[in-house]
Amino acid sequence: MKYKAYYRPQSVPETVELLASLEGPVVLFAGGTDILIYAREDDRYADSSIVNIFGLPELQGITLLDDEIRIGAGVTHTEIEQSPIIQKYAKVLADACRTIGSLQIRDHATIAGNICNASPAADSLAALAILDAKIEYLHEGKPCELPLVDLIAKPYKTVLTDRDLVTCIRIRRLPEGTQTVFYKLGRRKALAISRMTIALLAHRAADGTVDDFNITVGATFPKPYTFPEINGILLGKKPDPARIAEIAQAISAKIPEIAGIRKSTTFKQPVCRNMTARLLNELFTEA
């Protein structure tokens, strides 16, 4: 890989200081499993300073807060998948991380890297979106925060500068009894780029009414979205086949509305409608 200079700071304060002192473009290099692939295509990093932040101690760890979970930016997908905290309080994210790439990539690639690469097909994004993920980062050393849905501007582009250092991701800690589903449609089981993902969470009160519900579709839109108006179809009501069909119809109608009519629309729309209906029917008839 062609590059201008290489640095390996040992702490976040040292990284902030270093970033302020560097001239020219900077690449914050964590797992690097996307960057090394881009570097094969051309010499796009020839003028860049590579700052290796892999393994920075402040970016590690998954912590349970009062009603949120804090995931360090440098946590790998394998660590998320195996974390007892994530499995208990945000299972949809563990399930999403399990479908990413191969084991060898999940062992090395970081969650903040997956977010900042901002691939529309990134498997973690739909799960993070329904968990109301917020991204904490340092801009010129000052702590800032943005919801995931605002952080990603368009495919492969976030609103961050090359010197903004993501420090952690905060997601909802789901109350006990919340059911979650993560569904991935790919060409094959392992190592597939998603054609579509569906992530959803639902909680029902003692009388059977849905008091918490969030559903979204991934790998379909240019960036992650959530749909409060679609969630509203079920919130405060008892799930029945008519409402489930209404949600499936509404969410599949978003595909041409947001992404425009593409070649894949004729395929994606019915798949989205049918799979949403199937997943919701399974979820609500199971328990």
Partner: protein, 156 residues
């Protein structure tokens, strides 16, 4: 722009001068002349270059040399000196798991990482552990059989 990198490789300490932005795969094969680790696709899809870093199986074509600094690394060259590794190698030979042999180092390293974490995997868990390793000879059944045989052998 070479820098000093220090790491443990196959249980031996190494301090080398290498470009920190080379792929670690190239450092292994070119700087250290350890050519057991193969390059297949170069984009992390085939698993031929799998090595074990800090007990995790990773594709070394997607690891920066600078990331190896301070790490504990195992490649196929070090397998025979470990109990799990030597049993795996014997079982691969006995069960006909090696055809052209190009995927074999990566398969062995994925299997080695699995058995380190999980000494008693199910057949399904074995398949999942090598899902990131492609065999163009398509000899997956003998490979899975070999890992199962290694599990049995290690337990007895």
């Amino acid at each position: 722009m070479k820098q000093t990198l220090s790491f443990t490789l196959n249980h031996k300490p190494y301090t080398i001068e290498a470009d920190p932005c080379d792929r670690f795969l190239d450092v292994l094969r070119n700087d250290l002349s350890l050519r057991g680790t193969k390059e297949g696709c170069g984009v992390g899809e085939c698993g031929a270059c799998t090595i074990v870093i800090n007990s995790n199986a990773v594709t070394s074509c997607l690891v920066l040399a600078g990331q190896a600094d301070g790490a504990d690394i195992m490649t196929v060259e070090g397998l025979s000196e470990t109990e799990i590794g030597s049993v795996l190698q014997r079982c691969f030979i006995e069960n006909g798991a090696v055809q052209c042999g190009f995927c074999t180092p990566g398969m062995l390293m994925s299997a080695y990482a699995l058995l380190q974490h999980n000494p008693n995997p199910t057949r399904e868990e074995i398949k999942e552990a090598i899902a990131g390793n492609l065999c163009r000879c398509t000899g997956y059944v003998p490979i899975v059989n070999s890992i199962e045989a290694a599990v049995k052998s290690l337990q007895s």
